[in-house]
């Protein structure tokens, strides 16, 4: 296994480079992604190597970034759009929901809406408002889209390539607070399918499901719980829509208890969906109701207090206690 260590940012950069290399129809487009390499440097050096026609510094308008990507898709191109921060995807919402998600259907399959919309998401970087949000529930609800998120450099490297190669439009959520953390990347082959959930840590008492930046918190919570004698199985959803419910249900059937961790508020969230589906699939196995640990139902707070908004190890453990103690 040829592995190498790199940050998630670098892994995404390398993955995009491979995608550009593999297919001349692949383009990158976004604000400040060329000369600057993006505010997170994810596209660093790519304009230099692939030219201004393939790595496009766009005017400042998200609806147009996505709307022109649609036109490029019709012409046979595959655009990877960078949205600078989660909170700036909403000007493009109409194009995403009414065009990107629906044009394959509307054209009876004549148009492939092959494109990737990259969104650095979730909080944890001490930024100002609109730079820390979790818009994935909106996209998960929308038929016609797929939503994935990476939580390790290895996944980042492979999932971005798999997404670019995929024929459906993909909302690619990158946990920005993890960009600079390092991990092993296996250069030889993808670890799993793009839409597969994976068990990150095995356990027997509680199934803990998350994605993106929450995975690190979840794994830390599992470690702490272990010390207290509770064995947590941690699942990285990876694909937010569609959900890989098979892997999740198998785990819940074993553990009988379910906790979900996410940064978005809980109402009509991905966590709600997981609870609803797994309650149906594992009704007799569940020894306690599934519990969601989420962001609170408030606008994302000033970041001096964001760590009390985002799910913490403590809040996860509190939820674990609740599902463990439910029968009593």
């Amino acid at each position: 296994m040829a592995t190498t260590t790199m940050t998630m940012a670098k892994a995404l950069n390398e993955g995009l480079r491979k995608a550009l290399d593999a297919n001349p129809k692949v383009l990158l487009m976004g604000e400040d992604i060329g000369r600057l390499g993006g505010v997170f440097r994810i596209t660093d050096g790519l304009q230099k190597d692939f030219g201004e026609d393939r790595v496009i510094d766009s005017p400042l308008a998200e609806s147009a970034i996505v709307g022109t990507a649609v036109g490029l898709a019709i012409r046979g191109y595959r655009a990877v759009c960078e949205i600078q921060f989660d909170g700036f995807v909403y000007p493009a919402f109409d194009q995403i929901v009414s065009q990107v998600a629906k044009l394959h259907k509307r054209s009876d399959g004549a148009y492939k809406m092959a494109m990737v919309i990259r969104i650095p998401f979730q909080g944890g970087i001490g930024a100002i408002e609109h730079h820390s949000e979790s818009p994935e529930p909106y996209f998960a609800q929308t038929a016609g889209l797929r939503v994935v998120s990476c939580s390790t450099p290895n996944d980042a490297y492979w999932m971005i390539q798999q997404s670019v190669a995929h024929d459906d439009p993909i909302i690619f959520c990158e946990p920005k607070s993890r960009y600079w953390e390092k991990g092993e990347v296996d250069l030889e082959g993808p670890p799993s399918g793009l839409f597969d959930a994976v068990v990150r840590r095995e356990g027997t008492d509680v199934t803990l499901i998350g994605y993106g930046a929450s995975m690190k918190t979840a794994l830390r919570a599992a470690e702490t719980a272990q010390a207290e004698g509770v064995s947590i199985e941690v699942i990285d959803a990876r694909s937010i829509a569609p959900l890989d419910l098979g892997v999740m249900a198998k785990s819940v059937e074993k553990t009988g208890r379910l906790v979900i961790v996410q940064e978005s508020p809980h109402t009509a969230s991905v966590g709600s969906e997981i609870v609803a589906e797994l309650t149906q699939r594992c009704f007799y196995s569940l020894r306690a109701p599934g519990v969601r640990v989420s962001g609170y139902h408030v606008p994302y707070p000033p970041t001096r207090i964001e760590e009390d908004y985002r799910p913490t190890v403590d809040r996860i453990l509190d939820a674990v206690d609740r599902v463990m103690g439910f029968e009593s």
Binding site: L27, D53, S58, P59, A61, S63, A64, G67, T68, A69, V70, G71, L72, A73, I74, R75, G76, Y77, A79, P91, D94, Q95, S98, Q99, K102, L103, H104, K105, R106, S107, D108, G109, A110, Y111, K112, M113, A114, A143, G144, R146, H166, D167, D168, P242, L245
Partner: protein
Amino acid sequence: MIDEELVQLLTPEGERVQNADYESTLNGDEIFGLYRDMVIIRRLCNESTSLQRQGQLALWAPIQGQEAAQIGAGRALAPMDFTFPTYREHGIAWCRGVPPENMLRLFRAVSNGGWDPQKYRHSVPTVVLGSQTLHAVGYAMGIQRDGAEEAAMAFFGDGASSQGDVLEAFVWAASFNAPVVFFCQNNQWGISTPSSVQSKIPLYHRAHGFGFPGVRVDGNDVLAVYEVTKRALDSARVGGGPTLIEAYTYRIGAHTTSDDPTRYRIDAEVEVWKHRDPVERVKALLAREYKVKNSDFDDVAAEADAMALQLRDDVLAMSRPDPLTMFDNAYAAPHPLIDEGRRDMIDLGISEGSL
């Protein structure tokens, strides 16, 4: 209609007008061809209105009054150009070769599209106003990257001109010098809203503020529309960048068959515009200048009638789709919720289809 700004090559009476910048390049046969297109599309449109009244269509969006704008623009296109319509571009669809029955699939509510957009190089109907202008710009950016001598053309109305997407499309087209022509049919109404609510000055001026040419053409003058569009397309194809064309015309009919225009506009206005009929105008020219015989005109009318009959038959033959088809093409690749939905529907006995 004495408007300095308006490019016109034919008066409402069908007399030639000299224009310093544009001259008509079409011969008699070609002009007769445009006439034929306009008569046919008007006839098909009227048939569709009847079909709707008879309950055979869910809705219809008539184009009466706008035939010259659409046929002039549609015939100026080259085969390899690509067009991005709204829901009202039946005349453009006709010029692109879309079979009339395909145009009506949307309105019979059996499809959200209706034709193969890649085959006819004419995109699917776009209902969310303005979205398609960005698609056209993106497509044009693709043309640039392919090094092709082709153009994209986006259609939209005076109402849609206020949408952010249309204005962002102007920004992008200018920024990338994209080979795209924006064709705005200012039919003076957006449902009940007069175009003066969208802009106090002629809409073609918008382009100037974004740094590319805008031109206002008499949208009821098929010769002028043809020349103005051709010039803009030719320029776009060879690196001349975008043009905004405002075709100044009038929506004679209702917004759609669901609309009642008597609630918001006066008959007198409609009457004035009926006298500027685009079909009569070119017919007068053909009769006078090219000595086209009545029998030739009659032949076109007969041809149009036959096509209308055929259309009616085709529409009546369009049956309700199998409900299972709603799952087709929702995604390009397999998806668990699609499989689940199909299974559910079959289990419920809603469709006999198989998985």
